[in-house]
Protein backbone atom coordinates (compact mmCIF):
# COMPACT_ATOMS: atom_id res chain seq x y z
CA UNK A 1 0.00 0.00 0.00
CA UNK A 2 1.36 3.43 -0.92
CA UNK A 3 0.21 6.31 1.28
CA UNK A 4 1.05 9.90 0.43
CA UNK A 5 0.86 12.47 3.22
CA UNK A 6 0.72 16.10 2.11
CA UNK A 7 2.51 18.41 4.54
CA UNK A 8 2.63 22.16 4.64
CA UNK A 9 5.21 24.16 6.51
CA UNK A 10 3.66 26.93 8.59
CA UNK A 11 4.84 29.43 11.20
CA UNK A 12 4.37 28.09 14.75
CA UNK A 13 2.13 31.02 15.54
CA UNK A 14 0.37 33.60 13.43
CA UNK A 15 2.06 36.76 14.70
CA UNK A 16 3.11 37.51 11.13
CA UNK A 17 3.63 40.91 9.54
CA UNK A 18 2.65 42.24 6.16
CA UNK A 19 5.40 43.51 3.86
CA UNK A 20 4.93 46.60 1.68
CA UNK A 21 4.58 44.30 -1.35
CA UNK A 22 1.74 42.56 0.55
CA UNK A 23 3.59 39.26 0.99
CA UNK A 24 3.50 37.68 4.46
CA UNK A 25 6.54 38.21 6.66
CA UNK A 26 7.01 35.29 9.07
CA UNK A 27 10.69 36.06 9.75
CA UNK A 28 11.82 35.03 13.19
CA UNK A 29 8.89 32.67 13.80
CA UNK A 30 9.81 29.00 14.08
CA UNK A 31 8.64 26.91 11.12
CA UNK A 32 6.83 23.68 11.86
CA UNK A 33 4.77 21.03 10.09
CA UNK A 34 1.18 22.30 10.04
CA UNK A 35 -0.32 20.74 13.16
CA UNK A 36 -3.18 18.95 11.41
CA UNK A 37 -0.75 17.53 8.83
CA UNK A 38 1.27 16.02 11.67
CA UNK A 39 -1.83 14.01 12.64
CA UNK A 40 -2.18 12.98 8.99
CA UNK A 41 1.45 11.85 8.99
CA UNK A 42 1.04 9.86 12.20
CA UNK A 43 -2.04 8.18 10.71
CA UNK A 44 -0.15 7.26 7.54
CA UNK A 45 2.80 5.90 9.51
CA UNK A 46 0.51 3.76 11.68
CA UNK A 47 -1.27 2.26 8.66
CA UNK A 48 2.07 1.55 7.08
CA UNK A 49 3.29 -0.21 10.22
CA UNK A 50 0.15 -2.33 10.12
CA UNK A 51 -0.24 -3.03 6.41
CA UNK A 52 3.25 -2.55 4.96
CA UNK A 53 4.20 -0.63 1.83
CA UNK A 54 5.40 2.93 1.92
CA UNK A 55 4.50 6.38 3.19
CA UNK A 56 5.67 9.31 1.14
CA UNK A 57 5.78 12.72 2.80
CA UNK A 58 5.10 15.29 0.09
CA UNK A 59 5.45 19.03 0.34
CA UNK A 60 5.34 22.03 -1.97
CA UNK A 61 7.83 24.72 -1.09
CA UNK A 62 11.34 26.07 -1.17
CA UNK A 63 14.44 24.11 -0.12
CA UNK A 64 13.75 25.43 3.41
CA UNK A 65 10.87 22.94 3.57
CA UNK A 66 13.32 20.01 3.55
CA UNK A 67 13.60 20.42 7.32
CA UNK A 68 9.96 19.40 7.75
CA UNK A 69 10.33 16.51 5.32
CA UNK A 70 13.31 15.26 7.35
CA UNK A 71 11.22 15.46 10.47
CA UNK A 72 8.57 13.39 8.69
CA UNK A 73 11.23 10.80 7.81
CA UNK A 74 12.42 10.76 11.41
CA UNK A 75 8.84 10.14 12.55
CA UNK A 76 8.54 7.15 10.24
CA UNK A 77 7.77 8.21 6.67
CA UNK A 78 9.64 5.90 4.28
CA UNK A 79 10.05 8.45 1.48
CA UNK A 80 10.01 12.20 1.03
CA UNK A 81 9.35 14.31 -2.03
CA UNK A 82 9.66 18.07 -2.45
CA UNK A 83 7.83 19.90 -5.21
CA UNK A 84 9.78 23.08 -5.73
CA UNK A 85 9.91 25.70 -8.43
CA UNK A 86 10.16 29.50 -8.42
CA UNK A 87 6.79 29.43 -10.19
CA UNK A 88 5.21 27.76 -7.14
CA UNK A 89 5.79 30.87 -4.99
CA UNK A 90 2.29 32.36 -5.26
CA UNK A 91 0.05 29.31 -5.59
CA UNK A 92 -3.51 29.58 -4.35
CA UNK A 93 -5.02 26.51 -2.74
CA UNK A 94 -6.53 25.02 -5.89
CA UNK A 95 -3.31 25.60 -7.86
CA UNK A 96 -1.35 23.93 -5.03
CA UNK A 97 -3.71 20.98 -5.31
CA UNK A 98 -3.01 20.93 -9.06
CA UNK A 99 0.73 20.66 -8.34
CA UNK A 100 0.22 17.89 -5.78
CA UNK A 101 -2.18 16.04 -8.09
CA UNK A 102 0.38 16.07 -10.89
CA UNK A 103 3.01 14.60 -8.54
CA UNK A 104 0.62 11.93 -7.23
CA UNK A 105 -0.24 10.95 -10.80
CA UNK A 106 3.48 10.76 -11.58
CA UNK A 107 4.08 8.53 -8.53
CA UNK A 108 1.43 6.34 -10.10
CA UNK A 109 0.77 3.66 -7.50
CA UNK A 110 -0.82 5.75 -4.72
CA UNK A 111 -3.71 4.17 -2.75
CA UNK A 112 -4.58 7.00 -0.43
CA UNK A 113 -3.62 10.61 0.24
CA UNK A 114 -3.91 11.92 3.78
CA UNK A 115 -3.61 15.54 4.82
CA UNK A 116 -4.69 17.82 7.66
CA UNK A 117 -8.17 19.35 7.74
CA UNK A 118 -6.65 22.75 7.00
CA UNK A 119 -3.43 24.68 7.41
CA UNK A 120 -3.23 26.90 10.45
CA UNK A 121 -2.07 29.90 8.39
CA UNK A 122 -4.41 29.92 5.39
CA UNK A 123 -7.23 28.10 7.18
CA UNK A 124 -9.38 27.38 4.12
CA UNK A 125 -9.62 23.57 4.25
CA UNK A 126 -9.91 23.59 0.46
CA UNK A 127 -6.78 21.60 -0.38
CA UNK A 128 -8.06 18.07 0.23
CA UNK A 129 -11.37 18.51 -1.66
CA UNK A 130 -9.60 20.24 -4.56
CA UNK A 131 -6.99 17.48 -4.74
CA UNK A 132 -9.64 14.76 -4.70
CA UNK A 133 -11.58 16.36 -7.56
CA UNK A 134 -8.43 16.87 -9.62
CA UNK A 135 -7.41 13.24 -9.13
CA UNK A 136 -10.98 12.09 -9.76
CA UNK A 137 -11.01 10.25 -6.41
CA UNK A 138 -13.64 10.32 -3.66
CA UNK A 139 -12.92 12.49 -0.64
CA UNK A 140 -13.40 11.90 3.09
CA UNK A 141 -12.84 15.14 4.97
CA UNK A 142 -12.72 15.91 8.73
CA UNK A 143 -11.99 12.29 9.59
CA UNK A 144 -11.73 11.69 13.35
CA UNK A 145 -11.57 7.90 13.29
CA UNK A 146 -10.82 5.17 10.78
CA UNK A 147 -13.15 2.22 11.36
CA UNK A 148 -12.03 -0.15 8.60
CA UNK A 149 -9.25 -0.11 6.07
CA UNK A 150 -8.87 -2.80 3.43
CA UNK A 151 -5.76 -2.10 1.35
CA UNK A 152 -6.72 -2.28 -2.30
CA UNK A 153 -10.38 -2.29 -1.27
CA UNK A 154 -12.31 0.24 0.73
CA UNK A 155 -12.14 2.50 3.75
CA UNK A 156 -14.78 3.32 6.35
CA UNK A 157 -14.38 6.34 8.59
CA UNK A 158 -16.11 8.69 10.97
CA UNK A 159 -16.34 12.29 9.80
CA UNK A 160 -16.51 14.58 12.80
CA UNK A 161 -18.58 17.64 11.85
CA UNK A 162 -19.80 20.49 14.06
CA UNK A 163 -22.75 18.66 15.60
CA UNK A 164 -22.87 15.21 14.08
CA UNK A 165 -20.65 12.25 13.35
CA UNK A 166 -21.13 10.67 9.95
CA UNK A 167 -20.06 7.11 9.22
CA UNK A 168 -18.98 7.06 5.58
CA UNK A 169 -17.19 4.58 3.33
CA UNK A 170 -15.75 4.61 -0.16
CA UNK A 171 -13.48 2.59 -2.43
CA UNK A 172 -9.77 3.34 -2.62
CA UNK A 173 -7.97 5.28 -3.95
CA UNK A 174 -9.29 8.23 -1.98
CA UNK A 175 -8.23 11.52 -0.41
CA UNK A 176 -8.73 11.95 3.31
CA UNK A 177 -8.33 14.95 5.61
CA UNK A 178 -8.00 14.44 9.35
CA UNK A 179 -8.78 16.40 12.50
CA UNK A 180 -6.75 16.69 15.66
CA UNK A 181 -8.64 14.01 17.59
CA UNK A 182 -7.62 11.11 15.36
CA UNK A 183 -4.37 10.08 17.10
CA UNK A 184 -1.42 11.27 19.15
CA UNK A 185 1.57 12.04 16.90
CA UNK A 186 4.86 10.53 18.06
CA UNK A 187 8.03 12.45 18.77
CA UNK A 188 10.91 11.26 16.62
CA UNK A 189 13.88 9.97 18.63
CA UNK A 190 17.15 11.88 18.51
CA UNK A 191 18.77 8.84 16.91
CA UNK A 192 16.27 8.93 14.07
CA UNK A 193 16.61 12.68 13.67
CA UNK A 194 20.38 12.22 13.31
CA UNK A 195 19.95 9.36 10.88
CA UNK A 196 17.90 11.46 8.43
CA UNK A 197 19.78 14.75 8.91
CA UNK A 198 21.68 14.46 5.64
CA UNK A 199 18.94 13.04 3.46
CA UNK A 200 18.19 15.21 0.44
CA UNK A 201 14.72 14.31 -0.81
CA UNK A 202 14.15 14.29 -4.58
CA UNK A 203 12.87 17.59 -5.97
CA UNK A 204 10.35 17.80 -8.81
CA UNK A 205 9.82 21.05 -10.67
CA UNK A 206 6.91 22.40 -12.73
CA UNK A 207 8.41 20.99 -15.92
CA UNK A 208 9.00 17.58 -14.28
CA UNK A 209 5.29 17.63 -13.54
CA UNK A 210 4.24 18.90 -16.97
CA UNK A 211 2.63 22.01 -15.49
CA UNK A 212 2.42 25.29 -17.37
CA UNK A 213 1.80 28.88 -16.32
CA UNK A 214 -1.98 28.56 -16.73
CA UNK A 215 -2.04 25.61 -14.29
CA UNK A 216 -0.25 27.69 -11.66
CA UNK A 217 -1.95 31.06 -12.07
CA UNK A 218 -3.96 32.21 -9.06
CA UNK A 219 -7.68 32.75 -9.70
CA UNK A 220 -7.66 36.12 -7.95
CA UNK A 221 -5.40 39.08 -7.46
CA UNK A 222 -4.57 40.20 -3.97
CA UNK A 223 -5.93 43.74 -3.90
CA UNK A 224 -5.37 44.59 -0.27
CA UNK A 225 -3.83 42.99 2.82
CA UNK A 226 -4.07 44.72 6.17
CA UNK A 227 -3.88 43.92 9.87
CA UNK A 228 -7.23 43.66 11.66
CA UNK A 229 -8.74 46.90 12.93
CA UNK A 230 -7.58 47.51 16.52
CA UNK A 231 -10.08 46.66 19.23
CA UNK A 232 -11.40 49.63 21.20
CA UNK A 233 -9.36 50.23 24.32
CA UNK A 234 -10.56 48.14 27.22
CA UNK A 235 -11.46 49.09 30.74
CA UNK A 236 -10.02 47.57 33.91
CA UNK A 237 -12.53 46.94 36.69
CA UNK A 238 -11.22 48.11 40.05
CA UNK A 239 -12.65 47.69 43.49
CA UNK A 240 -11.70 47.23 47.13
CA UNK A 241 -12.32 43.48 46.99
CA UNK A 242 -13.41 40.67 44.69
CA UNK A 243 -17.10 41.08 45.52
CA UNK A 244 -17.04 44.78 44.60
CA UNK A 245 -15.25 44.04 41.33
CA UNK A 246 -17.76 41.36 40.46
CA UNK A 247 -20.72 43.70 41.13
CA UNK A 248 -19.16 46.35 38.94
CA UNK A 249 -18.45 43.82 36.21
CA UNK A 250 -22.06 42.62 36.16
CA UNK A 251 -23.25 46.27 36.05
CA UNK A 252 -21.15 46.75 32.94
CA UNK A 253 -22.36 43.54 31.30
CA UNK A 254 -25.97 44.62 31.86
CA UNK A 255 -25.18 48.09 30.55
CA UNK A 256 -23.61 46.58 27.40
CA UNK A 257 -26.70 44.36 27.01
CA UNK A 258 -24.63 41.24 26.55
CA UNK A 259 -26.30 39.26 29.35
Amino acid sequence: MHIVVCLKQVPRDNSVKIRPDLTIDAEGIEKIINLFDEYALEEGIRWNEQHGGKVTALSIGTSEWVEQLRRALAMGATDALLLSDPDFAQLDTIAAARVAAAAIRKLGDVDVVITGRNSTDDESGAFAPALARLLGWPQLTYVGKVLELQPGGSIKVERHLENVIETVSCRLPAVMSVIKDINEPRYPSLLKIKRVAKIEPPVWTASDLGLNAADLAPAAQLAERVPPPPRPKGEMIDGPDAAAKVRKLVDKLLEYQVI
Binding site: D13, N14, S15, V16, I18, I24, D92, I94, T120, D121, E123, S124, G125, A126, P129, A130, A132, R133, L134, P138, Q139, L140, T141, Y142, L161, E162, V164, I165, E166, T167, V168, S169, C170, K180, A219, A220, Q221, L222, A223, R225, V226, P227, P228, R231, P232, G234, E235, M236, I237, A242, K245, V246, L249, V250, K252, L253, L254, Y256, V258, I259
Partner: protein, 325 residues
Protein backbone atom coordinates in the same frame (compact mmCIF):
# COMPACT_ATOMS: atom_id res chain seq x y z
CA UNK B 1 -22.83 35.79 -16.61
CA UNK B 2 -24.15 38.21 -14.02
CA UNK B 3 -26.42 36.10 -11.86
CA UNK B 4 -25.90 35.08 -8.25
CA UNK B 5 -26.76 31.60 -6.95
CA UNK B 6 -27.31 30.92 -3.24
CA UNK B 7 -27.03 27.34 -1.92
CA UNK B 8 -29.80 27.10 0.69
CA UNK B 9 -29.59 25.34 4.03
CA UNK B 10 -32.53 24.46 6.24
CA UNK B 11 -32.95 24.20 9.99
CA UNK B 12 -36.06 22.20 10.79
CA UNK B 13 -38.93 23.73 8.83
CA UNK B 14 -37.23 27.01 8.06
CA UNK B 15 -34.39 28.50 6.11
CA UNK B 16 -31.17 28.61 8.12
CA UNK B 17 -30.08 32.06 9.33
CA UNK B 18 -27.02 31.87 7.05
CA UNK B 19 -29.31 31.38 4.04
CA UNK B 20 -31.25 34.54 4.94
CA UNK B 21 -27.91 36.38 5.24
CA UNK B 22 -26.82 35.08 1.86
CA UNK B 23 -30.13 35.96 0.20
CA UNK B 24 -29.87 39.51 1.56
CA UNK B 25 -26.29 40.00 0.41
CA UNK B 26 -26.90 38.02 -2.79
CA UNK B 27 -29.77 40.35 -3.70
CA UNK B 28 -27.46 43.39 -3.37
CA UNK B 29 -24.67 41.76 -5.38
CA UNK B 30 -27.02 40.53 -8.12
CA UNK B 31 -28.37 44.08 -8.47
CA UNK B 32 -24.82 45.45 -8.61
CA UNK B 33 -23.92 42.91 -11.30
CA UNK B 34 -27.12 43.63 -13.20
CA UNK B 35 -28.27 40.03 -12.89
CA UNK B 36 -30.86 38.05 -11.03
CA UNK B 37 -30.75 36.11 -7.77
CA UNK B 38 -31.30 32.36 -7.88
CA UNK B 39 -31.41 29.93 -4.98
CA UNK B 40 -30.86 26.19 -4.94
CA UNK B 41 -32.40 23.77 -2.47
CA UNK B 42 -30.86 20.30 -2.41
CA UNK B 43 -32.44 17.14 -0.98
CA UNK B 44 -34.46 17.60 2.21
CA UNK B 45 -33.98 21.38 1.99
CA UNK B 46 -36.48 21.46 -0.90
CA UNK B 47 -39.23 21.60 1.75
CA UNK B 48 -38.31 25.22 2.50
CA UNK B 49 -37.33 26.20 -1.06
CA UNK B 50 -40.39 28.36 -1.62
CA UNK B 51 -39.40 30.59 1.32
CA UNK B 52 -36.37 31.87 -0.60
CA UNK B 53 -38.62 34.05 -2.79
CA UNK B 54 -39.83 35.96 0.25
CA UNK B 55 -36.23 36.72 1.15
CA UNK B 56 -35.25 38.09 -2.25
CA UNK B 57 -34.66 35.25 -4.71
CA UNK B 58 -36.01 35.73 -8.24
CA UNK B 59 -35.84 32.05 -9.09
CA UNK B 60 -35.62 28.93 -6.96
CA UNK B 61 -34.27 25.61 -8.17
CA UNK B 62 -34.72 22.32 -6.39
CA UNK B 63 -32.92 19.04 -6.90
CA UNK B 64 -34.30 16.06 -5.08
CA UNK B 65 -33.50 12.37 -5.26
CA UNK B 66 -33.15 9.52 -2.75
CA UNK B 67 -29.36 9.79 -3.10
CA UNK B 68 -29.54 13.38 -1.80
CA UNK B 69 -31.21 12.47 1.51
CA UNK B 70 -27.76 12.85 3.11
CA UNK B 71 -24.90 15.07 2.17
CA UNK B 72 -22.30 13.58 -0.13
CA UNK B 73 -19.75 15.60 -2.06
CA UNK B 74 -20.65 13.95 -5.37
CA UNK B 75 -24.40 14.36 -4.85
CA UNK B 76 -24.28 18.00 -3.83
CA UNK B 77 -21.75 18.96 -6.50
CA UNK B 78 -23.89 17.28 -9.18
CA UNK B 79 -26.98 19.12 -7.90
CA UNK B 80 -25.11 22.44 -7.90
CA UNK B 81 -23.80 21.79 -11.42
CA UNK B 82 -27.40 21.41 -12.64
CA UNK B 83 -28.28 24.81 -11.18
CA UNK B 84 -25.10 26.36 -12.58
CA UNK B 85 -26.11 25.16 -16.03
CA UNK B 86 -29.59 26.57 -15.54
CA UNK B 87 -28.55 30.07 -14.44
CA UNK B 88 -24.85 30.49 -15.39
CA UNK B 89 -23.94 32.41 -12.22
CA UNK B 90 -21.02 34.81 -11.79
CA UNK B 91 -21.10 34.14 -8.06
CA UNK B 92 -22.15 31.11 -6.02
CA UNK B 93 -22.74 31.71 -2.32
CA UNK B 94 -22.83 29.18 0.52
CA UNK B 95 -22.13 29.27 4.25
CA UNK B 96 -18.83 28.24 5.80
CA UNK B 97 -19.38 24.98 7.69
CA UNK B 98 -17.26 21.82 7.49
CA UNK B 99 -19.76 20.34 5.05
CA UNK B 100 -19.87 23.46 2.88
CA UNK B 101 -16.05 23.65 2.84
CA UNK B 102 -16.04 20.06 1.58
CA UNK B 103 -18.65 20.99 -1.05
CA UNK B 104 -17.52 24.48 -2.05
CA UNK B 105 -13.90 23.61 -2.72
CA UNK B 106 -14.97 20.57 -4.78
CA UNK B 107 -17.45 22.64 -6.79
CA UNK B 108 -14.95 25.44 -7.43
CA UNK B 109 -12.39 22.89 -8.61
CA UNK B 110 -14.85 21.21 -10.99
CA UNK B 111 -15.95 24.59 -12.36
CA UNK B 112 -12.37 25.87 -12.58
CA UNK B 113 -13.81 28.78 -10.63
CA UNK B 114 -12.34 31.20 -8.13
CA UNK B 115 -12.77 30.21 -4.48
CA UNK B 116 -12.93 32.21 -1.29
CA UNK B 117 -13.52 30.49 2.05
CA UNK B 118 -14.62 32.30 5.21
CA UNK B 119 -15.53 35.49 3.36
CA UNK B 120 -16.49 38.33 5.69
CA UNK B 121 -17.25 40.86 2.96
CA UNK B 122 -18.18 40.73 -0.72
CA UNK B 123 -18.43 43.58 -3.19
CA UNK B 124 -18.82 44.22 -6.88
CA UNK B 125 -16.29 46.63 -8.40
CA UNK B 126 -16.39 47.38 -12.13
CA UNK B 127 -18.24 44.14 -12.70
CA UNK B 128 -15.64 42.10 -10.82
CA UNK B 129 -16.13 40.34 -7.47
CA UNK B 130 -14.02 41.51 -4.53
CA UNK B 131 -13.93 39.23 -1.51
CA UNK B 132 -12.44 39.82 1.92
CA UNK B 133 -11.34 37.00 4.19
CA UNK B 134 -9.21 36.77 7.31
CA UNK B 135 -6.23 34.40 7.50
CA UNK B 136 -3.45 33.73 10.01
CA UNK B 137 -5.85 33.51 12.90
CA UNK B 138 -7.43 36.85 12.10
CA UNK B 139 -4.06 38.66 12.10
CA UNK B 140 -4.25 39.29 8.36
CA UNK B 141 -7.27 40.57 6.44
CA UNK B 142 -7.01 39.80 2.73
CA UNK B 143 -9.05 41.29 -0.08
CA UNK B 144 -9.01 39.47 -3.40
CA UNK B 145 -10.20 40.70 -6.76
CA UNK B 146 -11.49 38.02 -9.11
CA UNK B 147 -11.30 38.68 -12.84
CA UNK B 148 -14.69 38.82 -14.52
CA UNK B 149 -15.55 35.99 -16.89
CA UNK B 150 -14.91 33.14 -14.48
CA UNK B 151 -17.39 32.18 -11.76
CA UNK B 152 -16.50 32.60 -8.09
CA UNK B 153 -17.54 30.27 -5.27
CA UNK B 154 -17.71 32.22 -2.01
CA UNK B 155 -18.23 30.49 1.34
CA UNK B 156 -19.36 33.16 3.76
CA UNK B 157 -18.57 33.23 7.47
CA UNK B 158 -21.74 33.19 9.58
CA UNK B 159 -23.01 36.52 10.88
CA UNK B 160 -21.08 38.54 8.32
CA UNK B 161 -24.16 40.12 6.77
CA UNK B 162 -27.57 41.15 8.10
CA UNK B 163 -30.34 38.63 7.47
CA UNK B 164 -32.80 39.58 4.74
CA UNK B 165 -36.26 40.40 6.08
CA UNK B 166 -39.20 38.45 4.74
CA UNK B 167 -41.56 40.11 2.28
CA UNK B 168 -44.62 37.93 2.81
CA UNK B 169 -46.18 38.75 -0.58
CA UNK B 170 -43.05 38.16 -2.60
CA UNK B 171 -42.91 34.92 -4.60
CA UNK B 172 -40.36 33.29 -6.86
CA UNK B 173 -40.99 30.45 -9.32
CA UNK B 174 -39.73 27.08 -8.10
CA UNK B 175 -38.29 24.85 -10.82
CA UNK B 176 -37.27 21.27 -10.21
CA UNK B 177 -34.05 20.27 -11.97
CA UNK B 178 -33.30 16.69 -12.91
CA UNK B 179 -29.86 15.18 -12.34
CA UNK B 180 -29.08 12.06 -14.31
CA UNK B 181 -26.96 9.18 -13.00
CA UNK B 182 -26.67 10.44 -9.46
CA UNK B 183 -24.34 7.87 -7.98
CA UNK B 184 -22.20 9.21 -5.12
CA UNK B 185 -18.96 7.31 -4.61
CA UNK B 186 -19.15 7.76 -0.86
CA UNK B 187 -21.80 5.90 1.10
CA UNK B 188 -23.22 7.40 4.29
CA UNK B 189 -24.01 4.60 6.74
CA UNK B 190 -25.07 6.66 9.74
CA UNK B 191 -25.40 10.23 10.93
CA UNK B 192 -25.37 10.41 14.72
CA UNK B 193 -25.53 13.48 16.95
CA UNK B 194 -22.19 14.04 18.63
CA UNK B 195 -22.29 12.90 22.23
CA UNK B 196 -21.97 15.98 24.42
CA UNK B 197 -21.76 18.16 21.31
CA UNK B 198 -20.95 21.72 22.12
CA UNK B 199 -22.07 24.17 19.56
CA UNK B 200 -19.45 26.73 20.49
CA UNK B 201 -19.53 28.30 17.05
CA UNK B 202 -23.19 29.25 17.37
CA UNK B 203 -23.19 30.18 21.09
CA UNK B 204 -23.99 33.80 21.94
CA UNK B 205 -22.09 33.58 25.23
CA UNK B 206 -18.96 31.54 25.90
CA UNK B 207 -17.07 31.09 29.16
CA UNK B 208 -13.58 29.73 28.63
CA UNK B 209 -11.21 28.43 31.26
CA UNK B 210 -7.46 28.07 31.15
CA UNK B 211 -4.53 26.86 33.17
CA UNK B 212 -4.99 29.67 35.70
CA UNK B 213 -7.79 27.58 37.22
CA UNK B 214 -5.12 25.30 38.65
CA UNK B 215 -6.67 21.91 37.97
CA UNK B 216 -9.43 19.98 36.24
CA UNK B 217 -11.69 19.88 39.31
CA UNK B 218 -11.64 23.66 39.56
CA UNK B 219 -12.49 23.91 35.87
CA UNK B 220 -15.62 21.78 36.22
CA UNK B 221 -16.56 23.36 39.55
CA UNK B 222 -16.36 26.92 38.19
CA UNK B 223 -16.65 27.18 34.39
CA UNK B 224 -19.75 25.14 33.39
CA UNK B 225 -21.88 26.61 36.23
CA UNK B 226 -21.07 30.17 35.12
CA UNK B 227 -21.77 29.26 31.49
CA UNK B 228 -25.06 27.73 32.57
CA UNK B 229 -26.05 30.78 34.64
CA UNK B 230 -25.47 32.90 31.52
CA UNK B 231 -27.22 30.46 29.20
CA UNK B 232 -23.98 29.99 27.28
CA UNK B 233 -21.48 27.32 26.34
CA UNK B 234 -18.09 26.60 27.89
CA UNK B 235 -14.74 26.52 26.16
CA UNK B 236 -11.15 25.69 26.99
CA UNK B 237 -7.67 26.83 26.09
CA UNK B 238 -5.39 24.48 24.19
CA UNK B 239 -3.14 24.04 27.22
CA UNK B 240 -5.84 22.40 29.34
CA UNK B 241 -7.19 20.35 26.42
CA UNK B 242 -3.68 19.02 25.83
CA UNK B 243 -3.43 18.28 29.57
CA UNK B 244 -6.59 16.20 29.31
CA UNK B 245 -8.79 18.36 31.58
CA UNK B 246 -11.42 19.02 28.92
CA UNK B 247 -12.29 17.27 25.61
CA UNK B 248 -11.02 18.77 22.33
CA UNK B 249 -14.62 19.67 21.37
CA UNK B 250 -14.34 22.62 23.74
CA UNK B 251 -11.06 24.01 22.47
CA UNK B 252 -11.07 27.60 21.23
CA UNK B 253 -8.15 28.83 19.14
CA UNK B 254 -6.00 28.29 16.10
CA UNK B 255 -6.22 24.50 16.24
CA UNK B 256 -9.66 24.41 17.84
CA UNK B 257 -12.76 26.41 17.10
CA UNK B 258 -13.05 29.96 15.87
CA UNK B 259 -15.83 31.74 17.73
CA UNK B 260 -17.34 35.19 17.67
CA UNK B 261 -19.99 35.40 20.40
CA UNK B 262 -21.51 38.60 21.77
CA UNK B 263 -19.88 37.85 25.14
CA UNK B 264 -16.65 35.92 25.67
CA UNK B 265 -15.38 35.44 29.20
CA UNK B 266 -11.78 34.21 29.46
CA UNK B 267 -11.01 33.01 32.98
CA UNK B 268 -7.46 32.05 33.86
CA UNK B 269 -6.53 32.22 30.18
CA UNK B 270 -3.25 34.04 29.54
CA UNK B 271 -4.12 34.79 25.90
CA UNK B 272 -1.50 33.04 23.79
CA UNK B 273 -1.64 34.23 20.20
CA UNK B 274 -3.06 30.82 19.19
CA UNK B 275 -5.96 31.39 21.57
CA UNK B 276 -6.60 34.98 20.48
CA UNK B 277 -6.81 33.71 16.89
CA UNK B 278 -9.97 31.84 17.79
CA UNK B 279 -11.88 34.54 19.67
CA UNK B 280 -10.56 38.02 18.88
CA UNK B 281 -13.66 39.05 16.93
CA UNK B 282 -16.00 38.45 19.90
CA UNK B 283 -18.09 41.54 20.58
CA UNK B 284 -17.42 41.94 24.29
CA UNK B 285 -14.42 40.20 25.82
CA UNK B 286 -14.08 39.86 29.59
CA UNK B 287 -10.71 38.75 30.93
CA UNK B 288 -10.18 37.54 34.47
CA UNK B 289 -6.60 36.76 35.37
CA UNK B 290 -4.33 37.22 38.35
CA UNK B 291 -1.46 38.39 36.13
CA UNK B 292 -2.07 42.04 35.17
CA UNK B 293 0.42 41.64 32.30
CA UNK B 294 -1.39 38.68 30.71
CA UNK B 295 -1.76 39.35 26.94
CA UNK B 296 -5.50 38.62 27.13
CA UNK B 297 -5.99 42.05 28.77
CA UNK B 298 -4.73 43.72 25.59
CA UNK B 299 -7.82 42.70 23.68
CA UNK B 300 -10.28 42.64 26.59
CA UNK B 301 -13.24 45.00 26.68
CA UNK B 302 -13.44 44.54 30.45
CA UNK B 303 -10.60 43.25 32.58
CA UNK B 304 -10.55 42.04 36.16
CA UNK B 305 -7.24 41.34 37.86
CA UNK B 306 -7.76 38.69 40.49
CA UNK B 307 -7.84 35.05 41.42
CA UNK B 308 -10.32 33.17 39.24
CA UNK B 309 -10.99 30.72 42.04
CA UNK B 310 -12.24 33.58 44.18
CA UNK B 311 -13.97 35.65 41.49
CA UNK B 312 -15.84 33.01 39.49
CA UNK B 313 -18.07 31.67 42.31
CA UNK B 314 -19.00 35.26 43.22
CA UNK B 315 -19.67 36.08 39.57
CA UNK B 316 -21.91 33.05 39.09
CA UNK B 317 -23.93 33.94 42.20
CA UNK B 318 -24.16 37.62 41.25
CA UNK B 319 -25.39 36.76 37.76
CA UNK B 320 -27.96 34.29 39.07
CA UNK B 321 -29.23 36.92 41.51
CA UNK B 322 -29.34 39.76 38.98
CA UNK B 323 -30.87 37.70 36.19
CA UNK B 324 -33.23 35.89 38.60
CA UNK B 325 -31.95 32.51 37.56
Amino acid sequence: MSNVLVILEAVGDDLAAISRELLGKGRQLADALGGSLAALAIGPTTAVAARAGQFGADQVYTVNAPALAQYTTDGYVAAAMAAVQACNPALILAGTSFQMRDFGAALATDLNAGLVVDATDLQVEDGAIRATRPSHGGNVINTYRFAAGKPVVALVRKQSFPEATAQPDRRAPVTELAVANLNPRTEVHAVAPKAGAVNLTDAAIIVTGGRGLGNKDNYYRLIPPLAEALGGAYGASRAIVDDGWVPYEHQVGQTGKTVSPKLYIAAGVSGAIQHLAGMRTSRTIVAINKDPDAPIFRIATLGVVGDVNEILPLLTEEIKARLNR
